[in-house]
Symmetry: D3
Subunit: 247 residues, 6 copies
């Protein structure tokens, strides 16, 4: 790590300004509007009794997620997937990643036969939408579980959440590892990695991709170090948001 | 009109609290986050040079709109249209209504061969989403046209906007005409009408539907009176928003 | 109203020649082939026991409608929606309008847990397809209800039909309000309105759209007057058709 | 062949009553409403200049066909393929059969770089819809070619039609070969065959299917004899229809 | 028939080299990788208990088939139907043909309420893919039935297979009837016929199409003779394959 | 690493038997049928001149991939994605992974404005289908490039391939890291990782997922060691296959 100053004034190990507006929605059982700099993602958690048919009768709950971008969340307008009539590969990939990341910290037995669907809709995109989505989704999920506890849909002593989870991107730009890439950095990165880490510091997902040149073991190691640090900062912000009274 | 006080404390001729957060988006050429009470719609305007193929070479521009609801904008979660692979009739209907309403105040010749796409995404729904969408869309549209003028994509003296436009719902509940129905009112209304009115007080669209019993001419007249009054209030709020410096 | 003579020889307050060929289909429980001038719509009513799942067990019936145009019903051939794999917004909009119009004159309790699906297929189009469809659909619906009464699927004294319903278009051309627009008139109209009226003269739907310039209250009033008169003529033709023995 | 009298009074070698209402449509370049008993198919021919991209520049024209059934053409209502969002195998199969049958009597060079699309929409179905469609489509096609000749889109001496074409179904019921099966016969047939024959008596398509038990060579031969005779009768009716002045 | 020698050295009445690799799959209940020259089709039979809902409770089983081509089975790459989001007419047509052909030799009562799905995936295509598919599918089907008998899903004495079935293409090239057309022959054929024949020599399907000029009765007869001979050769190869121990 | 013997007799660091049948297809420009134990994937490379529109005129080529599973490649039959009308998230994800992996070893400038589409169709699945696909795809890709060089579609000295690429799965089962998981191992793995490595030993993709419990840095390190070793073995097998004369 060095003290290189980035275009937006950050040092390499620094997150963008992160804000978590918990309880943004009046409708959802849990919600958070999260910002990583200009990236803004609205995360809602919808709690319903019952589980999909393939899981029925096993005494376990289900958590799943859907990710989507508004058509003008990006610099030039994209066609809506509803208009195209099909969901693109990237959308599918990220929805699945968010779902797996959340299930990694859920004890589905403790959740009982209930389903929580997390929707992560990107209102504005400036890099790191999937990592912001996971980080905000955890807050919405935690609130939906508290809601269900109050409504007695889950037991008063049940602990469906066995850990917290947050995610951050890291990448190598001009040979230098950097944390939480903004869009202009992301397009220049030679290697790009999204890392999902629990509150206890364990890995849930490590997804590294050589965008430019393949990377070696030393580079991989320094990216992982950077990600673990950034994820710890995000965990602290989640704890703080969940400690405040909901909006 | 009477002085009946509604559940939320309004009198029959009163709008809910309306806020217009102009310039909400850092990405779009024009944008507004509009609220009619708890109904919140993000409207963005995307300006591009050129027109669809069927309009090319006629020296005219094009304005169109797409409306959509986030899956958990409502009290219980709806499936995404992108997941269902098809757009529902209601969505189509409202997208077309918004587009027609905006085109009614556009001089497409003055716009030149440019296209403006308005996206209206409902972040939270509590009745009146289509009327809020039209009212906010006008603000986004006006800003996109100013942007294009500054960028010299349209002439400095061109006046593509020939009027402003706003919309409001009215309905008859327990025999009494009321302005700007919230969701709990909307489901109880015997007759429901959406009225789109220009800044000069002319009608662009009048869509009245008997939800319960058919209505007579006298009822129709009183609903139209109410709508014209409410639309004038919205016009004033648009003027005020466009007069402020953009966020 | 004036005595202006239109291209096809009609005065402004005059319908085109309307014919209703009741019982056209050997297959459907009720049917009518209706013509408004060259516009020809085949309306069939399909009666089945039972209701959609969301309505089951409430002791109520359901009436719904689907509208479609044959690909060469129009002057130049349109692609089939089945080939495109998606139903367009206009089709959805009109199907919904027909369904709402019919339900406005149905007592769903008296219908019992039965479903009637109305199909309106435009064989030839020359303006006013949606209004012809509603007017013909009522005849098919009435016959399907009689069929069901004879088959004892509904009680002998049940009166599911509480009124009749008809629809007509009106518009302003060169400043003059006119009834029942043919296609060449429709494309020239500044304002276009479809009005659905019951046999008793009450409004079910009022859908006015400014195609050219926005319209004022006086214009709106004269269009409504014209529509109410035309609808009364159509009601008389429906009564006559239902009084004849079925084909 | 025997003199067995069928349920509807026909002998085994007899067609149902066939009527051809030529020029039914005011919109299409050629059209015919054809009935084989209660089976009614509306056939329209749409002529356009130019050919699909894959055929451009070869000096040849193109003829293609689309077949569809109205939802209530049958005894119980079928879902629309536009609503299902996909075209079924049977529809595809029949559309392709009609197209191939017509192209067999077309000299595409003489047609020039023009396209004729034939739409065959079944208004009422009682067996034999595909054979009625082919037989009626030929009449619509012939008229569209005459129209194009008059409009000088094809040369005055060009002869794009090199023969006529008609089609008929045959089948074996209770061991006996029968011509032109009505629906109640079709469902009982052990073997079902559709045969497309030119005016000169040559085969274009022979599609025989064992619905019940496989069939032997002798049965196949007697079915072909029957079909050739029926097709000759249909050819005579086509000649007669084209000889009359168009409706 | 003559002794004309074809491009690939065959005489007119000769099949290409046919190989049947029985039991190719470790996963399916029955399978065969069949080659007709360079045409290679992988046929698998999937046996499951139960039948589709519309057949339930009738004491009968169901056999159906799906055909598909790998995108680069052909000389130039085709788009995948999964990518296009719709299945083409040809694919539907062939899937239905295979299903009907197999059901013609099945006693569905003896099969009991069980379903067998046959998948025929063309790994490499050089003409005759549908006939190879039917011929190979029979082998897979026979093995799946044996598997089910061993697993006691069907009775030890039940005989669901009442005959065998094979298929072959025939065509007329330069006026001469030929058996089992390779791709280069198929594109040159004036008439093309696919014939499905049982082991006992009865016809299940006869599908003849005039690709170039219509054909007469004498040509039809000689094609049928040729097909019956070729099918007998294929039957012998099926018998031999099923007599060997499975791979 | 330990000497634990697995169910199928392998030690933890051992690949399954890998075979590469190069040039399997007579149609494709490059092809390989690769087996990792019972997993069999047919990889074809289709070379065409020109590039997608978005890349045109930049002097660069394009390599992309599509992955799919035959419906009965697995233990129980899956519905075809073409029948479902949509491609699932997993399929999209793997297609994208294969494409990125191959592009990491391609110099698109040296390829010129040409496109290579790789199709990876899983004929039989027993775990590791995506890693087998990548490993086989490289062989097909290398042969397609040689073919293009011979046909002079790319320069004689152009070196579009800058490295080779192979992929392998690793996972932790009962706390022990293991190489190249078969299906029965994969479902039991606590952590599952797919690693794509170049012939020079650099990383292209690292995709680790906690299926059961999150994993720590030490576990991650041991999985990476194992993967690098397995990839080197696969590289040697690729070299050997490409050294042999093509089938």
């Amino acid at each position: 790590m060095t003290d290189t100053i980035r275009k937006d004034g950050r040092i390499t190990t620094q997150l963008r300004e992160v804000t978590i507006e918990r309880g943004w929605s009046d409708q959802a059982e849990g919600s958070a509007l999260i910002s990583f700099g200009k990236t803004k993602v609205l995360c809602t958690a919808s709690f319903t009794n019952g589980v999909p048919r393939w899981l029925a009768g096993k005494g376990k709950g289900w958590v799943t997620a859907e990710y989507s971008m508004l058509p003008r969340s990006t610099n030039s307008r994209m066609d809506r997937e509803s208009v195209k009539g099909r969901i693109g590969g990237r959308t599918h990939e990220i929805s699945r990643l968010i779902g797996r990341s959340l299930r990694a910290v859920i004890d589905t037995k403790a959740l009982g036969e209930n389903t929580i669907v997390i929707d992560c809709d990107v209102l504005q995109a400036d890099g790191g939408t999937r990592t912001a989505a996971i980080t905000g989704a955890y807050v919405a999920l935690a609130d939906a579980i508290e809601w269900a506890r109050e409504k007695k849909f889950i037991g008063q002593k049940a602990q469906p959440l066995i850990d917290s989870v947050a995610a951050v991107s890291v990448g190598i730009i001009d040979g230098e590892p950097m944390l939480d890439l903004a869009y202009v950095e992301d397009v220049r990165a030679e290697t790009d990695m999204n890392v999902v880490v629990t509150g206890r510091g364990l890995f849930v997902e490590v997804q590294g991709t050589a965008e430019g040149a393949p990377f070696d073991r030393r580079e991989l190691d320094s990216l992982l170090d950077l990600a673990v640090g950034g994820a710890a900062d995000l965990t602290a912000l989640q704890v703080e948001a969940l400690g405040r009274a909901s909006a």
